[in-house]
Symmetry: C2
Subunit: 205 residues, 2 copies
């Protein structure tokens, strides 16, 4: 692909513990394909993004928590995406994200496959991504060597890679997930799908 | 209207200083009419709702502020609603809200006309609702006696009325604006329009 077609990629920032990221992960490739675009996937850690933005997760606010727990499942049904509220939520997902970084370095398509496997595992089958044993099984199911994956998530190199990715996202104004950038224009939330579709169809508005 | 048709009303909670409330105020009546529903308008003060929910306005978070200032205008253009970012934003709007409470007590339709006049004045014509002189002019334009309106916004009765409305909303789980309740189901944000449309067409999902 030429440089200019790469610039036409949609940047998609997602967090492995974010239900709205999971929902968006199920439609972002189809949306891009309809407009002859590609997607650049970026695993981020919301906890780390929230700090510079002085934000807290929605479930940290009692009244808002009650609403979003309902809205997660309803938004998934609305989007036609299988959803089962995980028993433990939210959970630390940096190991899944480091596996993504490691795979992305050698094969972006394999990294995307892993992202789908992990998000679907956590949000549709209640697989606890914070449990190393469960994570190894999921990695193996996804066709990746679990010993190599565990070595990767324990390796400071991929920890540092994830930190760099987070810092770069934050520097671009990313403060939540899912977050998208199309032609430099920022869109936050799975509920910006229609606005993104219009931008992709008709350009800036 | 019978009791049961009243129960089929859509509860719409809005704040006079909320751009997303303004956008929703421009489509909520048409949405309801398409589904043979009515709308019960509730003026609330976001500042008061945020306290029990331990929330802060999006513009209080530096990185988020940059995004939402852009998203306000883009979302308005997407919805086909005239929008001009007010020079002073956000501003205290309790006087406009008290006028709404006062009018609502004698004629809900007139209160809704006032809500439209005030929201359009602030968000499309840069009329500062926190300035008593500008507020009086806007009231007069809307066909309401400005002396009576000023007496109302200075009267503890309507201050108390607004406080009761806020407390009632908060007790129902309202923590932001626009906020909607349809058949008891909560929807938060102008970006839940499509989900509300589906609920109204097909019932619970």
């Amino acid at each position: 692909m030429s440089g200019s077609s790469q610039d036409r990629a949609i940047d998609f920032y997602f967090d492995f513990s974010s239900p709205y990221s999971y929902i968006a992960s199920e439609w972002i490739e189809a949306l891009a394909a309809r407009h002859a675009r590609t997607v650049r996937w970026h695993a981020v850690l919301l906890g780390a993004l929230f700090q510079p933005a002085e934000l807290r997760p929605p479930v940290a606010h009692p009244i808002k928590r009650e609403y979003v727990m309902r809205d997660f499942a309803r938004s998934a049904r609305f989007a036609g995406v299988p959803y089962q509220q995980p028993a433990q939520f939210p959970i630390p997902t940096q190991n899944a994200a480091r596996v993504f970084c490691w795979l992305h370095g050698r094969d972006p398509a394999q990294a995307v496959s892993w992202a789908h496997a992990a998000l679907r595992g956590y949000f549709a089958r209640n697989v606890p991504l914070n449990d190393p044993v469960a994570l190894r099984s999921l990695v193996q199911e996804a066709g990746v060597n679990p010993d190599e994956a565990e070595a990767a998530w324990s390796d400071p190199v991929w920890k540092e890679c994830l930190k760099r990715e987070n810092d770069a996202a934050s520097a671009l104004g990313v403060f939540g997930a899912p977050f998208f950038r199309i032609d430099g224009e920022p869109f936050w939330g799975h509920d910006r799908q229609a606005q993104m579709d219009r931008w992709l169809s008709m350009g800036p508005y």
